[in-house]
Amino acid sequence: MIWDPQNECMDPEQRRELQLHRLRATVARLAANVPYYRNKFAENDVDPLGIESLDDLQYLPFTTKDDLRETYPTGMFAVPVSELVRVHASSGTTGTPVVAGYTRSDIDIWAEMMARTICLGGGDNSDILQVAYGYGLFTGGLGLHYGGEKVGCTVIPMSAGNTARQIMMMRDLGTTMVACTPSYALTLADELIDEGIDAGELNLKSGLFGAEVWSQASRKAIEEMLQLKAYDIYGLTEVIGPGVSADCEYGCGMHICDDHFIPEIIDPETEAVLPEGEEGEIVFTCITKQAFPVIRFRSRDITRLHYGKCECGRTSARMERVSGRDDDMLIIRGVNVFPGQIENVLVNIDETLPHYQLVVTKEGRLDVLEVQVEVSQEIFADTIRALEAVEQKIQGALASALGITCRVKLIEPKSIERSIGKAKRVIDLREE
């Protein structure tokens, strides 16, 4: 089912006109109401009333996370705080969090986008949606919650954690859709095994997974273990939260709500706009938000954009699953390493995804990457020889995939802390 066929399947030319109209209004409003943007436009010789076509977007200045930190907490808001009905905040893993404000209209628009996401994932008003994203300042929980209610799903507001209780509700209430981070989906799957429950006994149909970068391998593992179809959903607190884009059943890229956000792909080094299909950093401009619209927000997420009508009927721009978040990238002895690459190698060792963690240290002046892998039932053997062979096999596969030598250490099951939200895969102990 398509939630909003009028907007999601709109004629592309008509959508571009709508985008231009909305962009002009947003830029004019920001120049009038947000001193930070007014100054930025002036510094970059941008006439906020002079936008004549969508091509002019490339002349507007970028907004970075540093800009948002500098204006913390409310310096980027385009409305007085009294007009806000809610705030959320980013997890702030790297210092100051970003506070996002929402007017009533923003909340309504957001619920519309989340409704699109849920329908993209095969949902409708007959579904029982278990929201296992955290509720609170994090946008995941309440975002999915409002979308679910908008569609008419029966929403179970579990929030994250309390895994045994999640499974109980899932089974007793017959949950058909579950929404959580991919790493928490794996935790749920583990709990099923521990409790001796066959996923086939549950009523799960689809899962809406996002908020962290996950590999294709991890998707396959989750689909098999939970016996559902996994959909990638995408969003950022700085842009609105989840709902920015999501997979449809054809899995050919996540459909962006591009009547609300204009996406661009840029070269992260030169900042030049790249043509369709080229890989680069995705940048978003909000064109319908009232409280906290960002212009050309640098997401740090690496992906590609595709246009053209999808088999599902939607005409919106599509982005490929995010291959790496600039922030997650590790530089080990000068080589760029994404945790997802390591995950892919591990899954291919024995077809299941082990729990793992990456620990980076410095020995002398040399970076050392230790890949800690929990010993699963599949890996375990009663001879040292066999276990050392597993270590060497992983090490060899990592060396050929990454081009660097890593240390592989087998560790006891359940010794890596299970995440209920975003998984902490990397522990970097190097001193800056």
Binding site: D194, E374, V375, S376, Q377, F380, A381, D382, T383, I384, R385, L387, E388, K409, L410, I411, E412, P413, K414, S415
Partner: protein
Amino acid sequence: MTLEEKVTKQVSVFLENKSGRLAEVCQVLGDAGVNMRALCIADTSDFGILRLIVNDPTRATKILQERGFGVGEADVLALVVPDRPGGLASVLAMLTDAGVNVEYMYAFFITVDGDAVVLFRIDDEQIASTVALLEENGVRTLRAEEVYAL
């Protein structure tokens, strides 16, 4: 006596080399009323494998799994070896001559009728032929039931 009866189940546990883990395994088994009959530890600088003969291997495996340990079961043979100089040497020579690959072995602390009991881990595909070989040469293999009750 069937082959199955002659094969003793050994419980193996993966342990990281950090203090207190062995004590924890022992405590878990003790609390569950599982009695340990023999044990040996093989280790590297990072991890170790604890191998156990207990009175109830199925229960021990289940309990350790529930407690989150990495556990496996392996088939071993419990041989009655004459408790005299050269006793073990003669058994090993016989196995070597027959091309039986011994992965590892360890001994019980207690004796049976004055003889020592030594546990042998050999390749799974060689177990049946080895049992026959031992029988031909008059080396007694304890039945699993006897081992668990030692």
